[in-house]
């Protein structure tokens, strides 16, 4: 497979990752969210592998396997268990209605495209065009964390943001050093566990995972 096809394949994957990012922002049902997140991780892993193949940066294989194992299997599994235990199925409606969120998303994509223009000028890699997508994915994850009320969805948003960062790293410079990525993966795992504990505490305190409830924690009257 020569590098042009690889580049095309990579940009296609980038597009699909962007699509999953949007799907995460607008999807309401919890299980569907998990599935989409897993798919995003999978696409990310594939694209990392391709980049590794093209750039001959073989440590990327390891990081792609890492992504596959952590983001596609482990974390979704944990969150799934969590959902099962906490009996969450449909989340409380998000703060902004769906079409508006989509429009904001489009604006974010344009903005990130505008923002990364200089980097595209500098970089010489075949994958440079996907930086904008990576940044957009990051921002969409952030948007998700902002617009959603539910703690679990916020975690997923957080993880999506991390996906965006990883993607940016792979597409801008062929990936970060392996050590860093290992560290990141570990952090994510730990973060997930900690979040899990948090959820239990939140839900036992408020019998709900609606983070609006936390407004009650602030000191008043």
């Amino acid at each position: 497979m020569n590098s042009t096809i690889a580049a095309q394949l990579n940009s296609l994957l980038a597009a699909l990752i962007l699509l999953t990012a949007f799907a995460l922002v607008v999807q309401r049902r919890m299980n569907a969210l998990l599935h989409i997140f897993a798919w995003q991780g999978f696409l990310l892993a594939v694209s990392t592998a391709i980049v590794g193949f093209v750039g001959g940066a073989h440590h990327l294989y390891i990081s792609s396997i890492l992504t596959l194992s952590v983001k596609v299997m482990l974390l979704p599994y944990i969150l799934h268990k969590l959902i099962q235990k906490l009996k969450i199925h449909k989340e409380i409606d998000s703060l902004i209605n769906i079409p508006t969120t989509m429009l904001i998303g489009i604006v974010l994509v344009i903005f990130s495209y505008h923002l990364t223009a200089p980097i595209r000028e500098l970089s010489t890699l075949v994958t440079r065009s996907t930086i904008a997508v990576a940044l957009a994915t990051f921002m969409l994850g952030f948007l998700m964390m902002i617009t959603r009320k539910h703690a679990v969805t916020q975690i997923i948003g957080f993880l999506a943001m991390e996906n965006g960062l990883l993607f940016a790293a792979t597409s801008a410079t062929y990936g970060m050093p392996l050590v860093v990525e290992l560290g990141v993966a570990l952090d994510l795992l730990i973060a997930a566990f900690i979040f899990g504990m948090f959820f239990f505490h939140i839900s036992t305190t408020f019998d709900s995972l609606d983070v609006d409830q936390m407004a009650r924690l602030k000191e008043e009257d």
């Binding site: 489009i106 344009i110 495209y113 505008h114 223009a117």
Partner: protein
């Protein structure tokens, strides 16, 4: 007298002058006055059209200096291709409308004297023609004011109703705020031409010569854009349109909406492309954004209306928006030196100006005929008129098809060219614009789709179904022959402009040559007159004649095939699901038709609706009567105009305090003024 465009236009003014002289003599016999007056205006407008067509065809520029007006400030007139084009727009529609008026104004006979109507009508025409002819700031503003004042009195024609007086006042205020902005813009340009000391630079020629520094040029542009937008009804300066157009007599609304708004477009094009000339791309983006906002919001507001003429007025806001979109694109292309694409966009803008003049004129004339017949403006009271007014309904339908951009009528051609201009935007060398401009295309698509919905509503609710009101059509009658002729001619023009676009584009070549320095006709008509191929035939092509003939042929064949077969058509009562108590009140009304869109786009309006059960004591399940109240208001009125009005009242109340009615105090005021002046004059 040698026959030149100038002499023709002069004779057209002469005709009007003769009419003004004649009016007092024949004003005793009102019916005669109608015939004389409007046949004279017809002739004069026709002459103006001829002059315009000729000028554009030859691409000549002829200037005249009239030693009138203030000492050593003579009036300059100039008939170039741009003014020639808009002269054609003004002349053509006013010819048709004048014919129509011979029949329409008869409706006022016996109710009021129409002398003032005739006088101000002719002054209005003169004003509009002079605006496009003027070649110096002073004369331009005089003509502008003449146009504004005449139209003010025309809006005020039926002055016994209070809403007419309010509307006319609002119109006057907005028009003058705009005029002040235009004046300031001219002031800046003239001042930079030759210092602020002398007056010699008030001619447009002087302004053409001068290179403006960027900052002041921007100031001049913004002022001019603001001023002309106030006249054109660009959102948020649109509030006077839906007030003034419905209350004016329908032939006047046709002219105001069809051509008076175009004079503002003329002013913009003249100032931006001719007087200023060079500009950065963000001016274009600015105009484009305003155009998009006006287009989308205009059509959405129109969808919420149930008053036929109000609806048409709001749809004028939409179409002005579409014209501005093309102008904005043209400016962007110009600033990126894409002269060919700029020419394409400019053609789209001018073409749509002409189209909108035609179909909006037609629609207002049709609305006038309906008003004339039913004395009713509220669509919820109408319905089933197609059986009483076959002519009016068919012509109105043609107007609806044209304005909702359906082939083979004219609205589609201009919107199609606009889409082409949008799709060629990737030629620009700015990645951000490449991303953003196609979104504008999407908004334009939304606009035209909503416009189709709007005119299905307008035609369906007005002419189809049964009468929705309480009382039956007893007095409804078809429009008379003059009105029909006026409308038929306009409809034919709509069709012709739709089916033979290449001829018009060839004719308009000198304009784009003059404004942006390039022409598209060589490529546009590259495949002969039947095929419209802007830029290149691989790029896109549209053949209105073939599309029309194709559809027509299939329809005809199918019809013949099916009607040679025996197959009795039986008339039966409508299928009411066997429910015998169906009444006309159960049909969809204008309000209910737009309910889904009102619910989807509701956040753009301030909507108050509540349902009341009658009698109050009734159980919720068994009310004897339901009362449904709906009030949809323009948010801009609440955001912008209400505060301004309140503030001005507050200020005037404060100032009112100074009035004591005692002469000494007034003397003190003036004495203090004199002292202050003396101090400062040292």
């Amino acid at each position: 007298m040698v026959l030149t465009p100038v002499s023709i236009i002069a004779s057209s003014f002469a005709v009007i002058l003769a009419l003004l002289v004649l009016t007092p003599i024949v004003s005793r016999n009102q019916r005669l006055l109608i015939i004389v007056g409007f046949s004279f205006t017809t002739i004069s407008s026709f002459l103006a059209t001829a002059a315009g067509v000729w000028t554009v065809a030859n691409g000549t520029i002829s200037q005249v200096v009239i030693p009138l007006g203030l000492p050593d400030l003579p009036f300059h007139l100039r008939l170039d291709v741009l003014s020639g084009f808009f002269l054609t727009v003004v002349g053509l529609l006013s010819t048709f409308v004048s014919l129509y008026s011979i029949g329409y104004v008869n409706g006022f006979l016996g109710r009021r004297s129409i002398t003032s109507l005739v006088v101000f009508y002719s002054l209005f025409l003169v004003g509009m023609q002079l605006v496009v002819l003027a070649d110096d700031a002073l004369f331009f503003l005089i003509a502008w004011e003449l146009m504004a004042a005449a139209s003010y009195f025309l809006v005020l024609f039926e002055d016994e109703r209070v809403e007419n007086r309010r509307a006319a006042f609002l119109y006057l205020v907005v028009a003058h705020v705009g005029a002040i902005a235009i004046l300031l813009s001219f002031g800046i340009m003239a001042g930079l031409a030759t210092g602020f000391s002398g007056f010699q630079s008030y001619t447009f020629d002087a302004m053409r010569e001068t290179e403006l520094p960027a900052g002041l040029a921007t100031a001049a542009f913004l002022l001019a854009f603001f001023g002309f937008s106030a006249k054109a009804g660009v959102i948020p300066l649109h509030v006077w349109l839906p007030e003034a157009h419905p209350v004016a007599p329908s032939n006047i609304s046709a002219l105001m909406s069809g051509v008076m708004l175009k004079t503002a477009i003329y002013g913009m094009v003249r100032v931006i492309f001719d007087l200023i000339g060079v500009f950065p791309w963000w001016w274009g983006a600015f105009v484009l954004v305003f155009g998009l906002v006006s287009a989308v919001l205009g059509v959405l507001y129109a969808l919420m209306q149930s008053d036929l003429k109000r609806l048409l007025a709001y749809s004028s806001v939409e179409n002005i928006g579409i014209i501005l979109i093309s102008i904005g694109l043209c400016m962007i292309f110009t600033s990126f030196d894409q002269s060919l694409l700029a020419a394409l966009a400019m053609i789209a803008a001018l073409y749509h100006s002409l189209n909108h003049a035609m179909f909006k004129g037609l629609l207002f004339m049709g609305a006038g005929a309906v008003l004339h017949a039913t004395h009713e403006r509220n669509m919820d009271e109408m319905g089933g008129l197609i059986r009483f007014m076959p002519w009016t309904s068919s012509l109105f339908l043609i107007g609806c098809l044209s304005i909702s951009a359906l082939p083979p009528f004219n609205g589609f051609v201009s919107e199609w060219i606009t889409y082409q201009a949008f799709l060629l935007s990737p030629a620009l060398s700015s990645p951000l614009l490449n991303l953003l401009i196609p979104l504008g295309a999407a908004l334009l698509a939304l606009t035209s789709a909503l416009a189709a919905a709007l005119f299905v509503k307008a035609f369906g609710v007005t002419f189809l179904g049964h009468r929705r009101g309480h009382h039956a059509h007893d007095h409804v009658h078809e429009a008379d022959w003059f009105m029909r002729i006026g409308m038929v001619l306009t409809a034919v023009t709509c069709f012709g402009l739709g089916v033979f676009p290449t001829f018009l584009i060839n004719w308009m070549d000198p304009i784009t040559e003059y404004l942006v320095g390039d022409t598209i006709s060589s490529s546009a008509a590259g495949f002969g007159w039947m095929w419209l191929t802007p830029i290149s035939h691989e790029r896109a092509s549209y053949s209105a004649p073939v599309v029309f003939l194709g559809i027509f042929a299939v329809v005809a064949i199918t019809y013949l095939l099916l009607h040679t077969r025996s197959g009795a058509i039986r008339r039966a009562p409508l299928w009411d699901c066997g429910f015998e108590k169906v009444t006309n009140r159960m049909q969809y009304t204008a309000t209910s038709f737009s309910m889904p869109l009102r619910r989807i786009f509701g956040f753009l309006f301030s909507i108050k609706e509540h349902v009341r059960l009658l009698p109050e004591t009734a159980h919720r399940a068994f009310p004897e009567q339901l009362q449904y109240h709906l009030r949809v208001r323009d948010r801009f009125w609440i955001w912008i105009y209400q505060p301004i009005a309140d503030a001005s009242f507050w200020v005037s109340r404060r100032i009112g305090r100074m009035q004591h009615g005692r002469i000494q105090i007034y003397l003190i005021y003036s004495f203090v003024t004199i002292i202050v002046l003396l101090i400062f004059s040292k």
